[in-house]
């Protein structure tokens, strides 16, 4: 008699955790949606500099965007490896994903310190407040993701990440990819589409 079977009966046949997590991601859409909306309605309203043109570094951010996209590829490969029970490659890809995430955070830390040196702090102007809050929220999500991936890596080394635990990795993957797509939007609307009028020089 398996009570696991009874307890795990679900009306859709789907894993409850996955449904809950997609709901969470839906909720996150509104979180980042509000942050992005605020950034956009405030763009160009700063009464003092520095603002977008003077400070955003497109080549550098393009590289970190590439880095995060690549991490998403590593993540799907990690999930595939866990699903087929391939411990070695599961670890490799998980470690690679976490590493690329950490590199992204490194880029962000560099960017933030650079901006502060250039005179753009959290409270300098409207651009500083909205930019650091939006990208900071995203960076916070990346940080949580890296910790999560490292936890999975440790579980893998403990031998507790077999194919039966693939759902744990799949959900971490959903989170990771969502953080990636948020960055896709941020990269476009914050870095590439700059509507702040050029200073009259």
């Amino acid at each position: 008699m398996s009570h696991a079977a009874a307890a795990h009966y679900t009306s859709t046949g789907l894993d409850s955790r996955k449904i809950a997590f997609w709901t969470f991601i839906g909720s996150e859409c509104l979180l980042f949606g509000s942050l992005i909306a605020t950034y956009l309605v405030y763009e160009g309203r700063s009464v003092s500099g520095p603002t977008t043109h003077e400070i955003l570094n497109i080549p550098l951010t393009s590289v970190s965007t590439f880095d995060l996209l690549l991490s998403s590829l590593m993540m799907v490969l990690a999930l595939a490896a866990v699903q087929r029970g391939d411990r070695l490659w599961a670890r490799v890809w998980l470690a690679a994903t976490a590493l690329l995430g950490a590199i992204f955070l490194g880029f962000q830390a560099f960017e933030f310190t650079h901006f502060v040196h250039e005179g753009l702090g959290f409270t300098t102007n409207l651009f500083g407040s909205t930019f650091f809050t939006l990208t900071g929220f995203h960076g916070g999500h990346v940080f949580v993701g890296v910790v999560w991936l490292l936890t999975l890596l440790v579980r893998s080394f403990q031998g507790k990440l077999g194919p039966e635990k693939a759902m744990n990795v799949e959900i971490a993957g959903l989170y990771w990819h969502f953080v990636d797509v948020v960055w896709i939007v941020i990269f476009t609307v914050v870095y590439l589409i700059q509507t702040t009028p050029l200073p009259a020089s």
Partner: protein, 619 residues
Amino acid sequence: MSPASATAQHDAPVVPVAPTGLWSWITTTDHKRIGLLYGFTAVFFFLVGGLEALVIRLQLGAPGNSVVSAETYNQLFTMHGTTMIFLAVMPLSSAFFNYIIPLQIGARDVAFPRLNAFSYWVFLAGGLLLNASFVAGPLFGADRLSVAPNGGWFGYANLTSSLQYSPGPNIDFWVLGLQILGIASLAAGFNFITTILNLRAPGMKLMRMPVFTWMSLVTQFLVVTAFPVITVGLVFLMLDRIFGTTFYNVSAGGDVVLWQHLFWLFGHPEVYIIILPAMGVVSEVLPTFSRKPLFGYAIVVYSGVLIGVMGWGVWAHHMFSTGLGPVADTVFSATTMLIAVPTGVKIFNWIATMWGGRLHLTTSMWFAVAFISSFIIGGLSGVMHSSPPADLQQTDTYFVVAHFHYVLFGGAVQGLFAGVYYWWPKIFGHRLKEGVGKLHFWLMFVGMNLTFFPMHFSGLLGMPRRIYTYGPELGLGMLNLMSTVGAFLTGLSLLVFVYNAWSSRREPRVGKNPWAAATLEWAVSSPPPVYNFSVLPTVTSRLPLWTEHGVSEIPDTPPGPIHVPGGSHWPLMTALGILVIAVGALLHHHFVPSLVTVLAGLGVVVVSVYRWAFEPFEV
């Protein structure tokens, strides 16, 4: 480990029984117990918010009154609104979500029992933090005992965002309290959406779900989408206050109206978060006591879904007086008027449900009828200020106070009381006394109409909201006195309810289905066993107990062992960690102690989450 799983290897069927003792309540993950905790806490806060309302009404009972000072009055109306919405009515709905939904859909618990416990403890932490402000003055060097929030439940920036205009810890309590309550609501939202979608018993198709469960699903969808928006608005407010960012700082180019957009983007769906569960309750109560199925079930469900979706497109009708411009005014006026259509459809379907029935006018039924009656009034006054020019006169007057109290008190509260009287026998195994119940009902119904109906006129005749005093020259003393008398009658009715709850405890035990109702929660004993259903039922009908073979047999004793999830104290610990973080943020004027406290709280959260994630706990 739970007792059930520890003994699961035995051959003889083991019937799990609920553990007892304080620790078992602190660590409980049983949806029924969590529902009770929500219920008791909500009633407690409801009484607190009611007392605040009575002091407000005393102060306004006569022009130029001096029962309380301006500052105290501002704290009282802020806390009254915040308490009633976030600490009383929403958690009272949560009590029913918790207790009733798993029973209605034929599940043994919610999808994530520990997350459910977490929601409750975080809610409690937020409520306690908010109310601690009433006595926290000395800790912050204030010259008065109470430093309760004083910026209104809507907390308009820049009054709230700037330390120049609100220097004390008052607004910090509010900002942090609301963020904490947001976490609780969000966690519950994910949990209940998953529960409703995924834990329905075999045969319980979506369009066989009871309307209460349906409306709860819509409510939770609104919770998980609306709360992130207010969270972002509150984070901006908090950053402006703590770090001096410029989100609502006019001199830096910030815009004070942005807060209003973010607040009402949340605030309007929030209205439906409050009212939809009550609509669900009424949709259960009316058919049961009319001995007739709900008229137009599918239409009622779809109109509820439609209200939920359309509720997202009307927020700026709270902001007509800011001067959005004629085009935006027209658009938001039109969407607001449109939302009256599905709302009206529901009302007609409820009346049609009763039409041709055999109405058993129990207290629960009276409350349901009063819900409809009040909701008609609240809905009609809502249509009046969906017209922007009319709203320019009505907004921020007692006309609006009358409007939303007809919706939230006449509607939500009376609807939830219909639920209290309806499900009481299921939850406690005996009914509330009907005679005392009718006294409770009539006192409340007369009291609330006497309180709120005159407010339509005091508003139209020039009484603004949120004023602690008004001059005799306005000629509004008599109308205000009527409202005050009505408020005390309403307060008295609550004492009658409390008396009823206490004195009914020796009423005769009831069987499974004392009202001869149709839905699945009435197929199990009252109160239900810890595992709810001895076997998972199979449902073949929308009204399983009113249909022959509507549900498979549910034996009184389980045929086999049943796994019941054990308790865990890690949800409580995580909630405590969050509370510590909030307390740390409250101390933001002292950098080092603040940072240390926040980090300590963060540490508790991280440790608790890991322990939670890796503790042996089978669902």
